[in-house]
Each structure stands twice: as C-alpha cells, then as structure tokens.
C-alpha cells in the first residue's frame, strides 16, 4: 500500500462502500432514535395546538435562525472537505475540517446562550419554570420536549465536533491518507445527518404559527 495520495489501492472502492453502508445503517437507527421524540412532539402538539403556538413565540427565533445558517454552512465545509480529500488536496482538507469543527462549536455556543436566556425567563421545566400565562401545561410540555430534543441533538453535534477535530489533527500525519478519506466520508454522512435533524427541529420549535 502506498503512502502517496495519488495512488489508490485496488480494494479502496470496496472498502469505501462497505464503510459507508455501515454508516448508513447506523443513521437508520438514529432516525428511529429521534423518531420517538418527533412522535412525542406530535402527540403533545395535537393535544393543544394553540398552547404550542404560544410556547413557540417564547423562543428566540433569531438565535435559532442564526444557528440554522451556521449549521448549513458547516455542512458545506464538511462536504467540501470530503470532496477535496478524494481530489488529494490534503492541506485544504485540514483547513476545511477545522472550519467545520469551528462552526459546529459556534452552534453549540449560540445554543448555550439561548439556554441561558430561557433560564432567565423561567422556561426550564422541573428546574426553573415560572410561566403562568394561558396554556401553561402545553407550554411546559413544549419546553420539556424542546430541551430533550435540542439536548440530544447537541450531544450528537458535540460528538461530531470532537471527531472532526480529531480527524483534522490526524490528517497532519501524511501516512494512510486513503483510510483518512474513508473516515472523512463516513464522518461527513454523520455530520449531514445531524444537520438534517436540525432542519426538522427548526420549524417545529421556532416557527409554529409565528406570523399569526
């Protein structure tokens, strides 16, 4: 096996497909994992639609929108990192991976600011919940699901940031470049999945009857 990045060993296409098939199946399990929360959300929202609309208006939709933009941009840098890896631009890959990790970390930072604002407003069920307006029960259910769903998402994203940073560090070592590219491809699938979950969370949390 060669260390030169332009020489691809014969079994690479086979290994590449095997590894990404494994990742796709893992992502299928993740869909079912998050599916429970989406079902719970649907169930609770159908029980009191106006309550969920009222609760949604209490969220910080601008922070959510900024975070959506950050995460979509990180998916772009991740996709570019995977593509430039297969094209053999190692230095570019490292920079793109760091950009991806940075954007992911920025998302988590914004999320923490948001959690802090919700704590200040007394919207954290079980720990600090002071909301007593109309639909108080539905608002509480909404924010319970909000914290569970965004929390599980943030845990996934944190793992993603750690793995991307780890790969960027490993990529400085020029041996086994092909293995790195396979890893990057699988990591890219994971990253886009976490991004995709957010695409569904964003309207469900921030945009419920926003303009009524």
């Amino acid at each position: 096996m060669s260390a030169r990045p332009d020489v691809v060993p014969v079994d690479v296409p086979w290994r590449r497909e095997t590894a990404s098939l494994g990742m796709w199946i893992f992502l299928a399990t993740e869909v079912m994992f998050f599916g429970v929360l989406f079902l719970a959300y649907t169930h609770a929202r159908l029980a009191d639609p106006q309550g969920f609309a009222a609760a949604s208006r209490l969220t910080h939709e601008w922070l959510g929108t900024i975070n959506t933009a950050i995460l979509l941009t990180s998916s772009l840098t991740m996709a570019l990192a995977v593509r430039s890896g297969w094209a053999g631009h190692r230095a570019l890959v490292i920079r793109l991976l760091w950009a991806t990790a940075f954007l992911g970390a920025a998302f988590i930072a914004v999320k923490l600011v948001e959690y802090r604002l919700e704590w200040r407003d007394g919207l954290v069920p079980a720990l600090h919940f002071t909301y007593s307006g109309p639909h108080a029960r539905a608002v509480q259910a909404f924010f319970f699901l909000y914290f569970v769903m965004t929390g599980v998402h943030a845990v996934h994203l944190t793992i993603g940031v750690a793995l991307v940073a780890w790969l960027a560090l490993r990529d400085r070592d020029p041996s086994h470049p092909v293995r790195r590219r396979e890893t990057a491809e699988c990591l890219g699938l994971y990253w886009h999945f976490v991004d995709g979950i957010w695409i569904f969370l964003y309207p469900l949390i921030y945009l419920v009857e926003l303009w009524r």
Partner: protein, 541 residues
C-alpha cells in the same frame, strides 16, 4: 466397505483455538469465532441467573398462600427473570453466539465486516450486564420487564433507573451486532454465493438484524424518557402534564413486539439447517422460506397494538391490530408446512439436534396457534394478563427459541470445538427438556383459561393441583438444562475429534476444519451449487 477403511478423523494441528491461550488473547480478539465463544459464556451465566429467578417463582407457587417470599420479593423475582431472559439471554442468544460464529463461515468470508465493532458490542453487553447485576445487588426492581408508566415513573420505590440503564446499554450491543451482520451479508459473500444460495440461517439472521437496528433505538429513547421523567418528575407520559401513559405502551411495544421476532427468527433459521441435514433432503420451497422470513420481519412491525387491547386504545385500532396479527400467521404457517414437507419422504435420522428441531416445530405451532386466540379481540379480554399469555409466549420463547438454541449448539458443537459429544446423553437431554417443558406450561394454559392472573404470589386454593404439576415440570426442565452443561463440558476436554463434517452436512462451514482455522478457510471458497444440495438428482427448482 469394512470398518477399517473409514478414516478416523484427527484434530487439526492449528485452529482459532490455538492462536493464543492467555486470557488477554481472548479479551482483545477480533476473531468472530472467539467473540462468539465470549458471548456464549456470558449469556450462559445470565441464563442460569434468570433460571434461578424462575425456579424461585415456581417454588413459591407450589402452595396457594404466599409463604416463601413476600409480595415485593415476588415482584422483583419475575422482573429480574423477564429482564435477564429477554435482554441478556434470548435476544443475544442465537445471533451473538451461533450467528457470530457461523455467518462469516456460511457465506465464505474470513471475518465480519467490522471486527473491532464486533468486539466492542461484547464489551457493551458486559457493561449492560454489570449495571443489571448491580441493580440486583442493590435490591432489584419491581416494575415487571415492561416498565409500565406511571408505576415505573412515579410509584415504584425500586431501582428503575439502574435497570433502565442496563437495558439501554445492552441495546447498543444489539444494534452494533445487527449492523455488522447486515453489512457482512451485503459485502462479504464469497464468489458464487448469490442471495438465493444463502443458507436460510443467514437469511434469518439478516432479517433479525434489520429488526435489531430499526426497533432497538426506539426502546433506547423510550427508556431515556422514563429515566428523565422519574428523576425530574416531568415528562410526556404523565397525564397531569397533558402526557399519556398509553404513549409509553405504544413505544414500548413498537420495540418489544418485533423483539419477539428477534428471538424467534434466528431459531427458525437454525431449525431449517437441522431439518434439511437430518432428513437428507433439500428444503421444501427455499424461496418461499426466505420470503416468509422477510415477511415475518416486516409484519412484525405492524402488530404491536395487540398487547394493548384492554389498555383503552380505540376499538378500531384494536380491530386493525387484531387483523394484522392474524396475518403474521400466514408466513409462519408457510414455514411450518415447508418444514413438514421437507420431512416428507426424507431419510430421517433422530440425532439430538433433530430431536430439538422437531420439538421446536411442534411447540412453535402450539405457541403460534394460541397466539391466534390472543389476537382475537373478544377472547383476549378474557385471557389477557392470565397464565394463558404466559404459557403462550413461553411456548414461543422457551419451546421455540431455547430449544432451537440448544439444538444449534449440539449441531455445530463439533464444528466449534472440534470434538464430538455423547449422542445418547444429547438425546436424553432433548427428551427430558421436551417433556419438562410440556409439563410446565400445559397446566398454565389451563390455569389461564380458568382465570388465574399473572404476577401474583398467591392464588385460589382450587388451582393448586395444576400449579404443582407446573412446578414439577419446571424441576424436570431444570434437570434438562443442567445435563448439557455436564456432557458438553466433558466433550470439551475428552470428546473424540469430530473431523470437518461429522454430520455429512452441506454448507460452507462444513468444508473447513473443525475447529476452523483463524482465517476460516485454507483456500478462498468458490460456491458452485445451490444450498442444501442433499439430493443432487433433483436440480434446483
């Protein structure tokens, strides 16, 4: 041919067992065959732990009064029996031991697709086991294996969080095993091993793996929500907050009904291998058998509501779930009929594995037919939560899955260890288990029909005769389960060498040494014939 002309098999000099003798060489192995043996040891320990709890339950039920254990202890006993047997024995039993050992061998591969992940799933299993044992030592849990809310979230004073954590963790071991098998079957087949040349055992494991990866995460998240609700006293299952305990039951059974098929599909695969081998015939309707396996796996996802007929779900939902549940009987019946048709005009040899296989077919049929009673909406109102349900699912789980697991262990024992066991003792144990099983569970069908509810440590005095019969059967069953430990243990050290193919069976695993070398095959195999080519004069239909 004179007896002297038959070559006496000798043990191969090198095998996966001789690759290293230290404990570290086992605990760091990436060889799927060694990982299978690690699993076999771990699940055997849990089998006897769960069995001990069952023994105490049956001893308590010898008398109508609750005189051996208190009601609280009894609740903990049936909970630990259920949790251990379902998640730490039955679900990993055939897939993680026989499946791990055999899937790569059967498809002609050197290894599974992700060997390191395979070892990781064993460690995750052990970690989940440690949590469960710690929960037991700390005082147990009394919710039943179903963790129904609001009891588990608001009222139980026992270690629900530890128990849920143990099950949550072991679930990831299942997921990773399933993922590994799917990718292995897709990507690692030998040249010529087309999909319709796969042994039915591999088809069964493939379908099981699909259920493992799609259903288990639902349980994981549901248990997470239980733990959050129990710790923070807020959640989606609490009606006081607009939540719904029924939602928990839907989510739980969305996993736990397909889990029944996780337990029984691999058993069907094992039985298909043994019946063809010992009837010396090609399996009847191979393609239909493969489609039936996939059909059961798919339908299995659509029937969970039959666990909730009396839980207050809408009557229309009940009717739909009842109808769908009956439809699972169709592919199941295809399998039973095809096994029977395979036996027809076969040259049947009643070896120990074959006795287990035939026991499986009979008991699975009884378990399946009583399942139709329970899927019938009106009958279920009378039978639900009685011993009829207990007897029904034990027919499938114990009469079906455990029988098939033990049959498979005997059938592939010469391949795994390279040694033969005592056929006579094997047959005795199979018959003792079959007899013990029926004496344990037939009285329970009657008890359930008479209205004895499950999960009570006391009962009406006129039900004592049937309960004593059942407990007597359980003690025979216990003897039957201890016997293989003795003669298989003896075989492990003293058994005569088996040779590559002691049963004269078809299938790639029988073309290599027993025990197989580390790389499975000395030469990469090339597959040129259909599966189960026992009667070459009848070409592939």
């Amino acid at each position: 041919m004179s007896a002297a002309a038959i070559p006496v098999p000798t043990a191969p000099r090198e095998s996966f067992l001789t690759e290293g003798y230290t404990i570290a060489s086992w605990l760091t192995t990436r060889d799927h065959k060694r990982i299978a043996i690690l699993y076999a040891i771990a699940i055997t320990l849990f089998f006897f732990l769960g069995g001990a709890a069952a023994a105490l339950i049956r001893i308590e039920l010898v008398t109508p009064r609750g005189d051996l254990v208190t009601a609280d202890t009894y609740n903990k006993l049936f909970t630990i029996h259920g949790v251990v047997m379902v998640w730490f024995f039955l679900i990993p039993s055939i897939p993680a031991t026989l499946g791990n050992f055999l899937v790569p061998l059967m498809i002609g591969s050197r290894e599974v697709a992700f060997p390191r992940l395979n070892l990781l799933s064993w460690y995750i299993y052990v970690l989940g086991g440690i949590f469960t044992v710690a929960m037991l030592v700390a005082g147990g849990v009394d919710t039943g294996w179903t963790f129904y809310t609001p009891f588990s979230t608001m009222f139980s004073n026992t270690h629900v969080v530890w128990a849920a954590a143990g099950v949550f963790i072991v679930g990831f071991s299942s997921i990773l095993t399933g993922l590994n098998f799917i990718v292995t079957v897709h990507r690692m087949r030998a040249p010529g091993m087309t999909w319709f040349r796969l042994p039915l055992f591999v088809w069964a494991l493939y379908a099981t793996s699909l259920i493992l990866v799609l259903a288990t995460p639902v349980l994981a998240m549901t248990l997470t929500l239980i733990v959050i609700e129990r710790v923070l006293h807020i959640g989606i299952f609490d009606p006081a907050l607009g939540g719904d305990p029924l939602l928990f039951q839907h989510l739980f059974w969305f996993y736990s009904h397909p889990a029944v098929y996780i337990m029984v599909l691999p058993a069907m695969g094992v039985v298909s291998e043994m019946i063809t081998c010992f009837a010396r015939k090609r399996i009847f309707g191979y393609r239909f058998m493969a489609y039936a396996i996939l059909g059961i796996a798919a339908f299995g996802f659509l029937v969970w509501g039959h666990h909730m007929f009396v839980s207050g779900q809408s009557v229309y939902a009940g009717m739909v779930f009842s109808m769908l549940s009956m439809m699972v009987a169709v592919p199941s019946a295809i399998k039973v009929f095809n096994w029977t048709a395979t036996l027809y005009k076969g040259s049947i040899v009643f070896t120990a594995p074959m006795l287990y296989a035939l026991g499986f077919v009979g008991l699975f049929t009884i378990g399946g037919m009583t399942g139709i009673y329970l899927a019938t909406l009106a009958a279920d109102v009378h039978l639900t939560d009685t011993y009829f349900v207990i007897a029904h699912f034990h027919s499938i789980m114990v009469g079906g899955s455990v029988m098939a697991y033990l049959g498979g262990i005997h059938y592939w024992w010469p391949k795994i260890t390279g040694r033969r066991y005592s056929e006579a003792w094997g047959r005795v144990a199979a018959i003792v288990i079959f007899f013990g099983f029926n004496l344990t569970f037939f009285p329970q069908y009657l008890l359930g029909y008479l209205g004895m509810p499950r999960r009570y440590h006391e009962y009406a005095p006129d039900l004592q005769v049937l309960n004593v019969l059942s407990s007597g059967g359980a003690s025979i069953l216990a003897v039957g389960y201890l016997l293989p430990l003795l003669y298989l243990g003896w075989s492990l050290f003293k058994g005569p060498p088996a040779g590559p193919n002691p049963w004269n069976a078809k299938g790639l695993e029988w073309t290599t040494d027993s025990p197989p070398p580390k790389e499975n095959f000395r030469e990469p195999p090339l597959v040129t014939e259909p599966p189960y080519a026992y009667d070459p004069e009848h070409p592939e239909r």
